[in-house]
Amino acid sequence: MTANDFLQIGIFLVVLLLLIKPMGSYMAHVFADEPNRLTRIGAGFERLVYRVCGIDAQEDMGWKHYAIAMLLFNVCGMVLVYAFQRLQGYLPLNPQHFPALSPDLSINTAISFITNTNWQAYSGESAMSYLTQMAALAVQNFLSAATGIAVAIAVIRGFARKTVKGIGNFWVDLTRTTLYVLLPISFLLALLLVSQGVIQNLKPYVDVPVVQTTTYANPVTDAAGNPVKDASGNPVTKPAQLTTETLPMGPAASQVAIKMLGTNGGGFFGANSAHPYENPTPFSNFLEMLAIFLIPGGLCLTFGQMVGDKRQGWAILVTMLVIFIPLAIGVTAAEQAGNPILHTLSIDQHASGLQSGGNMEGKETRFGIAASSLFTAVTTAASCGAVNNMHDSLTPLGGLVPMWLIQLGEVIFGGVGSGFYGMIAFAVVAVFIAGLMVGRTPEYIGKKVEAYEMKMASLAVLIPCALVVICTAIAVMTPTATATVANPGAHGFSEILYAVTSATGNNGSAFGGLSANIPFWNVMLGVCMFWARYTLAIAMLALAGSLAAKKHVPASAGTLPTHTPLFVTLLASVVIVVGALTFLPALALGPIAEYLMSVH
């Protein structure tokens, strides 16, 4: 690794920490149970929203009520996103005249966007109308993020409140998140991104003449549109020439801003944040990375503030950083070392003042190794899934890191809201394990952790693990699925493992060589995304409801303090041990096998 690699990681962390603190405290004000200055400013508009929707903002919901409202709202969103994709041919703002998407792809995309996953088996610039992007996909970028944050706030209330039934009002939490947190920051971020060159318009695509005529081999297709193959199975091509290039257009910046801030990750264009119109400069890249971690990091401190002990929030945040930093350095080191199979060729992969060197396949020149690798670690630690380089072309160990970061349960920052409540599930498990060691009923933030809480936390920890392992096994036994891999050997298995991992972790990034737009993948990954998202959220709401009903237990000499380096170590260990024990065997067949073969 070069000094600049370390410097870019260091600057990112410093700026991040400077922003997280005010962000956490701001969100605590937004969700405070008493009225405050902020909610008074927007109160008029907020009340109007409630009146139009027939909502009683004073109503305090029990956890079941809260969960049903959340689920119902998300399912309605799914239907709407599905309808937009199927009907876009008849709707306005479709200058490229894109037709309806297939039913299985539409349902996959709808689930993908309501669950904050943004797995994409389509390519935006060749499939989605501007209206579908704006009014269906970007809307769910807001609402799935707001849903995650609402559930996280309800979980925090479970700890903060004493002997009450209610954990808040889903509609109020959703509305406040959208109006006070997501919208203003997205708007600001969108304009900053436009200043760097991200496009924001409603114009049709622009044809420009090319400087040098492009000659290329055009694949021949038969009447049905299938590629024609010769006797030996190779595609038949004929030489073709092009004198123009088509530049895609569209309202990208507004969607890219919320895609990062809400840890959604669904690209406006196929190449996502590698596309020069989606992420044009190193500074836009820096902003996009900060936006991913801003809310998940901030929520840790919101938690500390709302339960009245800021140290508790810092402990969670430090645990995340303790796991994140070494893994971010790991992926950077692996990529900077270059690709071993190219070492024998006449190629210069060494870093110098004139080039970043390293494994540049799938990476953009403006980002080089440092800004690409850090982005990879950030986008998979958080369940964002936007990519600024192609993860399929990462070195074996470089590709292991993002896969494992998702497999850790998307709790290292994780998705907005979902990362936080996922980490709380691990914290409950951690205090329970510590309690077992001394034979005492465990407590966390002044609440006794008993059998019911342990069941819910265990479900939240184990369901994603089980889904990934079982669904990967089903996929590798299904010939239609194994036929979709693009790379031979261990790497082909990695593509399948990554796809199931990404869908279950609600991440959405991919080893993109996999041809995922077939009914098998669309349906199975849809099931993974849906189950992982909502079983976790509901289990954590149940935990919140049970905690809110309990009385506060004052700390005694036997209480394990949960703000100390000891607890940080314990929590990080639990996360790593669960992640390692569950996934090492699968990882050994994929990236680890590929690494051992490449150094041999």
Binding site: V139, D348, N487
Partner: protein, 192 residues
């Protein structure tokens, strides 16, 4: 339950209007006023007509031009409507073969240049539309372009320097050379 459904549907519609219609339209309006050049694709214009974008690369394989990053878009390279990388795995022999072919092509265009080829010149970019190459990638090609165009090397170096950007704010990303702008400037030099 029926009240919850009514709440959910109306909340979804209200939020769709706010975040799906009002927000992107206001953002478009403000962006068009504050940053019209960037919001419309950073187009390069000649006599009022767009002839390219500062941000989207084009395909070059003529020895008189600087070549950009290899592009894996289909069917043609630098296809602006199908951005994508190669997605070739690191240990895939197809990757090694593709890199070797690109090295051979560069060598054929510039016989006698036996220096190792900078990595970015022979590996496909992530978007397939990368507008830049590294300064090392430009240096590798300066002598060839100058020779084919019968230009002074120093003159070509001057243009390369003009279209080279350092790390942003001195810290972020990597130094880079914009290939399309450099090639347009080279053509402009000789059309005068």
């Amino acid at each position: 339950m029926s009240r919850l459904i009514r709440n959910a549907v109306s909340m979804l519609l209200v939020m769709t209007v706010i975040t799906g219609i009002a927000y992107p339209l206001v953002a478009t309006g403000v962006a068009q006023v504050l940053f019209p050049h960037q919001a419309n694709g950073s187009l390069i214009e000649q006599n009022g007509k767009p002839i390219g974008s500062e941000l989207i690369g084009q395909s070059f394989d003529d020895p008189k031009y600087f070549w950009g990053r290899p592009s894996a878009t289909a069917p043609q390279p630098y296809n602006g409507t199908a951005s994508n990388g190669s997605n070739l795995g690191p240990s895939n022999t197809a990757l090694r073969d593709a890199v070797q072919q690109r090295i051979d092509a560069l060598r054929k265009a510039d016989p006698g240049n036996t220096a190792p080829v900078p990595a970015d010149l022979v590996t496909a970019s992530g978007s397939g539309l990368d507008p830049d190459i590294s300064p090392a990638g430009a240096q590798y090609q300066v002598a060839r372009v100058a020779r084919v165009r019968h230009l002074d090397t120093a003159q070509v170096q001057g243009l390369v320097a003009k279209y080279t950007q350092g790390r942003q704010l001195g810290l972020l990303g990597e130094p880079r050379v914009n290939v399309l702008q450099l090639n347009l400037a080279l053509d402009g030099l000789q059309n005068k």
